[in-house]
């Protein structure tokens, strides 16, 4: 029985561990997961590790160091199916704010001896470096979506992770729209569903934790936010949070700010064919073809 179970590995790059914790948070379902998969590598849960290759790898975190660039290739090589989880892994995360500034200046302010800090100028998504089979969004990811992705993998079906807007979830829940009824700025119309419209349910605008939806019209929403008397600087800040470097959110901020980010390409070009696949997978995400579910 044990040998027949597919093996699972969970990897961490630059991240806060919140998405891995979502897996541990599954509580009731965790035993089912452990029953269906052989948890071979998951340092957050156990120091005991089994060598690869692994059938399913979940990758958390973004690429921020030269070492990361090498390690993610190792992970890719040892993984049959690679699923990235969370905003860091799918768009570079909040730490991608460095992409709009000078990371050495930051390091000089934060660390007593910044010369010991080896870091890249940018924080980039996993798919910018290696082919990715499926991207699960969110900061953090949603537990039920994670379980669905795992269940879907185990049964060979497609995950139910629609790329439409958060507004759909608002309307399914019967929420009163905070923008229309209360004049509250909300990123819901350009944001990928998945959270169940958590913030609008509690009378807050959407913060865009799940990144861009399938066909984000950020220019139109920007006009609307201006109408709601939001200053341009604040609109830029709204787009530049956990998914600041996701293609369409990055461009939205740049269009308003009238300047481009300092670094626009990942610092270490991946191997040509990988680069191609990664780009295709990311573009398809923004265009909203079903999120890369068909293998890389």
């Amino acid at each position: 029985m044990t040998s027949a179970r597919p093996s699972l590995a969970v990897w961490k790059f630059s991240s806060c561990d919140g998405c891995q914790l979502t897996l541990l948070d599954c509580e009731d379902e965790l035993l089912d997961v452990a029953g269906a998969l052989d948890i071979a590598y998951f340092l957050e849960a156990s120091r005991a590790t089994v060598d690869g290759p692994y059938d399913l790898s979940l990758v958390e975190g973004s690429i921020t160091t030269p070492d990361d660039v090498e390690r993610i290739r190792e992970v890719r090589r040892s993984s049959r199916r690679l699923v990235t989880i969370g905003a860091c892994a799918t768009s570079g995360g909040i730490q991608a704010l460095r992409n709009f500034a000078d990371v050495r200046e930051f390091a000089a302010i934060v660390y007593a001896q910044p010369e010991f800090v080896v870091t890249l100028d940018t924080s980039t998504a996993i798919a910018d470096h290696v082919p990715v089979d499926f991207e699960l969004r969110g900061c953090p990811i949603d537990k039920f979506q994670l379980l669905d992705v795992i269940s879907a993998y185990l049964l060979g079906r497609e995950p139910n992770v629609p790329a439409h807007s958060v507004c759909v979830e608002c309307k399914l829940r019967g929420n009163v729209c905070v923008t229309v009824a209360h004049g509250i700025p909300c990123l819901g119309p350009v944001t990928h569903a998945g959270c169940g419209a958590l913030c609008p349910t509690y009378d807050r605008g959407c913060y865009g934790c799940f990144g861009p939806m399938e066909s984000p019209n950020t220019a139109s929403l920007t006009e609307r936010l201006r109408e709601l008397s939001m200053p341009d600087d604040d609109i830029v800040c709204m787009f530049r949070t956990f998914n600041a470097y996701a293609e369409s959110f990055r461009r939205a901020g740049e269009d308003i700010a009238g300047r481009t980010s300092r670094a626009t390409v990942p610092p270490y070009p991946a191997r040509p064919e990988e680069r191609h696949d990664a780009q295709a997978s990311r573009e398809s995400h923004d265009e909203g073809r079903r999120s890369g579910a068909r293998g890389g």
Binding site: S151, L172, A181, G188, S215, N217, S220, L221
Partner: protein, 375 residues
Amino acid sequence: MLLDVEGLGQLIRVLGERGLQVIGPTVVDRAVVYDEIDSADDLPVGWTDEQDGGHYRLHRRDDEARFGYVVGPHSWKRFLFPPRTVLWRAERGDGTFRLIDDRADISRYAFFGVRSCELHAMAIQDRVFLDCDEPDRTYRERRDAAFVVAVNCGEPGGTCFCVSMDTGPQATEGYDLLITELLDSDRHDFLVESGSDAGVEVLAALSGRAVDDDARRAAAEVIEVAVESMGRSLETAGLQQLLEENPEHPRWDHVAERCLACTNCTLVCPTCFCSAVEDTTDVSGGLATRERRWDSCFTMDFSYLHGGSVRSTTRARYRQWMTHKLATWIDQFGSSGCVGCGRCITWCPVGIDITEEAAAIRADVLPTAEKVEVI
């Protein structure tokens, strides 16, 4: 029959006593939504709504009107065609597949405060869900069990255009009871008429006064005033042909620049009926669930066929929605798909206005040579 304010409360009680779950307008999160109501106190007493493209606000009235607002973000389809419906669940045994019989009792609703446009919307959804080879069972059961208390509109909202669509403001059929609120400095009454045997029965259980000429005159005036105060209008003459002949009109590009493809317009629309089917399984693979949930022609997955979305641009999606609603719906179901309730205008986050879009195409029709057939 004429009821006073007390009598209105009695009506809600009587409906409850008949085993019906009374759903009516009530204020939640500073908007009028449809939810369970226990008494007349749950109604939006003394509230009115201000509505415009992408704009909705509640304001205090200077009277205690019970129906002094129009429709909000919810519609009755939420109850007849719920956002999510489990179609079936099944368990896997040792080489077996067993359907789980967990169908709940039929929900028996009394819809309280249904507007004329909404009665028309229900009639449209009846045609969609029931006049077909495979009538929808959930819809059928809930619809058959429902008791409908309609209310005539006295003060249309800023985005209403039922007069253009010939769907209001006066309810003409499709109700069990019909209320007209009569409110001025001298009186606060509710003229109640029955429209079915069930309605007659409920009326008989109420204690009210006989309708006098004065009340009749006041009720007629309510409608006259309402007809004159529509917030919007839509020219429907030749509209079907106009839209069908203008699939390449530059206005579609104009609207596509503004449209967010967020789906709000379709999900608030009381006639939109599209759904997706989702299959889920648990991690062990022992339990499978098939669920139907609201979908929209504005999502990419909606038109996803082998190889991609048929309508990949927002232009194509908006055009599909509006042309279906106002034109091809007529061929498909025998009436327009729009009842002029104004929800899609109010609840569009960027205030796109279906009446304005139609008017813009009419105002600037392309020369015939430039018209292209949609493929």
